[in-house]
Symmetry: C2
Subunit: 426 residues, 2 copies
């Protein structure tokens, strides 16, 4: 018997007691925010020295002798291409180093598909009639927003423990030529922190697609964002795809937004040389170059991939206690109650909680009414439609540990209340 899900006298008393507790907290006038995956200021402080490495006395030439202060070099300075190639698991000639945002890079890439198509397109996507994208869900709301913006129909794909449901994906992309792409966050996925297994990656590499210009948007946003010493690693999709001749399906992205500074970082894309050459021709009309000074700043600061990895350990040292606070409190407050499940990710930026069916929206609302802002209900699903109303994304990185403790305790209280309301409130 579960007093949170069945009508009992004990449950009724518990509900009254928790409600009183909740109402007392409401009176405190909290104003806390755990809604977005933003780094905390301590993390931002880690990269402040980077602002000094390119200064008024610096040599402003790249390795190939180009003055980074002037026009030129569409696809990134050579040393940045090398660094990001290492980060993305690609060759420098398979890389374009871009501006400050992967979101922009992905949006622009889809906009190019819409208006011009890709190298393997028969015609621009705007001329293809109905377009569809597969959306492993729960997933990243800003990916879904791009599809909605361009009128691309989203098909949710269930997430499993080792990645999205590949059976369904294979079936759909193999038979429906209007399915043009899929969004993936293959490592420490947003919001569940799931890392795709080698088997899943290989199945992506082997995908037979009805659309000749099917694209996998492989948003490796958390590629080095481990929380533990033994972080997850994934198979290199581009390399794997080459084995099966599907390398032109693959667009991989990453950035330093959560390594150095969000909005002032550097982003990069990796794809087959064939795709890179095609995209560069289109990009050449849109821009002369991205910010090469900022690229140089990043390369001189980190020097190489090891430099980035060392830096990421400092992030982990700040983030691990926050994630431990969240998962520890969830376990302490909700463990064994049968009203919530959650992930304990080894990296990334989120903890994903699944409440009882129909309780996520109400839990978030209860938190909001008590002054604690969570990611909005449904945000992790296409069209903001969480079919069972269960998923809540917790973003523990921004608040200080002290605030986090208050926030997560309140959250657990609200999960309980929302469950009890199902039983005791009509």
């Amino acid at each position: 018997m579960n007093i949170y899900t069945e009508k009992t006298e004990e449950g009724k008393q518990l509900y009254a007691a928790l409600k009183a507790e909740y109402e007392a907290i409401c009176k405190k006038g909290l104003k806390l925010d755990m809604s977005r995956g933003k780094p905390g200021s301590e993390q931002l402080d880690l990269s402040m020295d980077m602002l000094d490495v390119v200064n008024s006395h610096s040599d402003m030439k790249t390795l190939n002798g180009t003055d980074v202060r002037n026009y030129g070099i569409l696809d990134g300075i050579p040393e940045a291409k090398e660094l990001f190639a290492a980060l993305l698991g690609a060759k420098p000639e398979e890389v374009i180093v871009g501006g400050n945002s992967t979101l922009t890079f992905m949006y622009d890439t889809i906009a190019r598909g819409m208006l011009h198509g890709f190298a393997d397109s028969v015609k621009p996507w705007v001329q293809c009639g109905k377009l569809k994208f597969l959306c492993p869900a729960p997933g990243y709301d800003r990916h879904f927003a791009i599809c909605e913006h361009f009128g691309i129909e989203m098909i949710p794909i269930e997430m499993r423990e080792d990645g999205p449901d590949m059976d369904t994906i294979e079936q759909i992309v193999g038979s429906d030529a209007s399915v043009k792409g899929i969004w993936c966050v293959p490592k420490y996925s947003n919001p569940q922190g799931i890392t795709y297994s080698d088997k899943v990656v290989t199945r992506f590499a082997k995908l037979k697609t009805a659309a000749p210009d099917f694209k996998i948007f492989w948003d490796n946003a958390y590629c080095v964002h481990h929380l533990t010493e033994s972080g997850d690693e994934i198979l290199d999709l581009l390399e794997e795809a080459k084995k099966y001749g599907t390398q032109d399906h693959v667009f991989m992205f990453t950035s330093t937004s959560k390594i150095t500074f969000p909005g002032a970082g550097v982003t990069a894309m990796a794809a087959s040389v064939h795709n890179i050459e095609y995209l560069k021709k289109l990009m050449d009309v849109q821009m002369i170059s991205s910010d090469k000074i900022n690229q140089l700043r990043h390369v001189r600061y980190f020097k190489d991939l090891d430099g980035i990895k060392t830096h990421m350990k400092r992030h982990a040292a700040i983030l691990k206690p926050k994630f431990d606070m969240v998962t520890g409190t969830l376990q302490k407050e909700l463990g064994g109650l049968g009203i919530a499940k959650w992930t304990t990710p080894k990296g990334g930026y989120f903890v994903s909680v699944d409440t009882l069916e129909g309780c996520a929206r109400r839990t978030i609302e209860l938190c909001a009414n008590a002054g604690v802002k969570l990611t909005e209900a449904g945000a992790t699903y296409p069209y903001h439609e969480d079919p069972k109303d269960t998923n809540i994304r917790l973003a523990p990185t921004l608040p200080p540990v002290k605030e986090l403790k208050i926030t997560i305790s309140l959250f657990c209280l609200c999960v309980k209340l929302a469950a009890l309301e199902r039983v005791f409130v009509q």
Copy 2:
């Protein structure tokens, strides 16, 4: 009688002498480039101190308390909006401060028109059938490239001494609803250095357009780029347009690409609040913010518009001798010969030379064969089609004065040779 255009014995001897002179120069193996409007390294040095103003010890908060190192603020930090509002002649709420490139901002704006239309569009431009843009010519090749890229038909408009031919513009935009926009560089135009008169600007503000969503792309790239103490000023188009209720036609752009660093500067757009709000909604899907650290760097370095103006005087001090060298040599070598006309701009980045009909391409080719690269023939016209083959864009900013002297002397020689070839070579 003109020995450059009529067959005479004297002309024949001159041709032989100049040809010998040219062939001697060809043997020198020159490798000089006067093709693009790039600042010279002396100019880039002017802004090096800006790289120190935001450093590891800086306060990283904006005036409204936002940490510039983190996510947020789509339309630019408040102090940057204020600075660019002053530069653009607009109010801060009429401004979006963007990334590193006006070219990208303009391209993205047109891409938004294509895929979504503007606030006053009946439907997205891709669904409107044939689209046309007016292109005052000679003009900026990268504007024209955007139209070509999107399949927008370009209609060349003749440039007069005080701006484009407004009679023709009024007639076309008033009657043809497929004409959706016009490219303008209203001050120190590329390549002629022409500044639009108040009368021309007012006629733009009064334009009655058949298309409800007609847009004036007002690329004020050289707004503070004077060469002389008494630089040109233009009427503020957005303010002027408000008088006639046409403010929604106006998209104004500028950047610091040629104030601080090309590719690592800051760009901004001004438009009616109505348009700004509409565009921000679309931009919100593409990006979270532009690089706010670089915005802060610029604002803290310049402080205000006066700071920029003072800085631009230092640029002028470097550029004026280069422009004087070019126009002085043109006058000395070609003055009164009746084979070339040129502009003497009071600002901007170019000197525009018109040769005799049919001589521009050949002049550029002769220069190239002697190791001097000029902007390619036809580049200043839509589709690279200079109808009379007369226009050559000289870009004197990048080469040091010493190189410039060699370059421009060779250029004058080639102008003469190309003219004489018309008479003496079949």
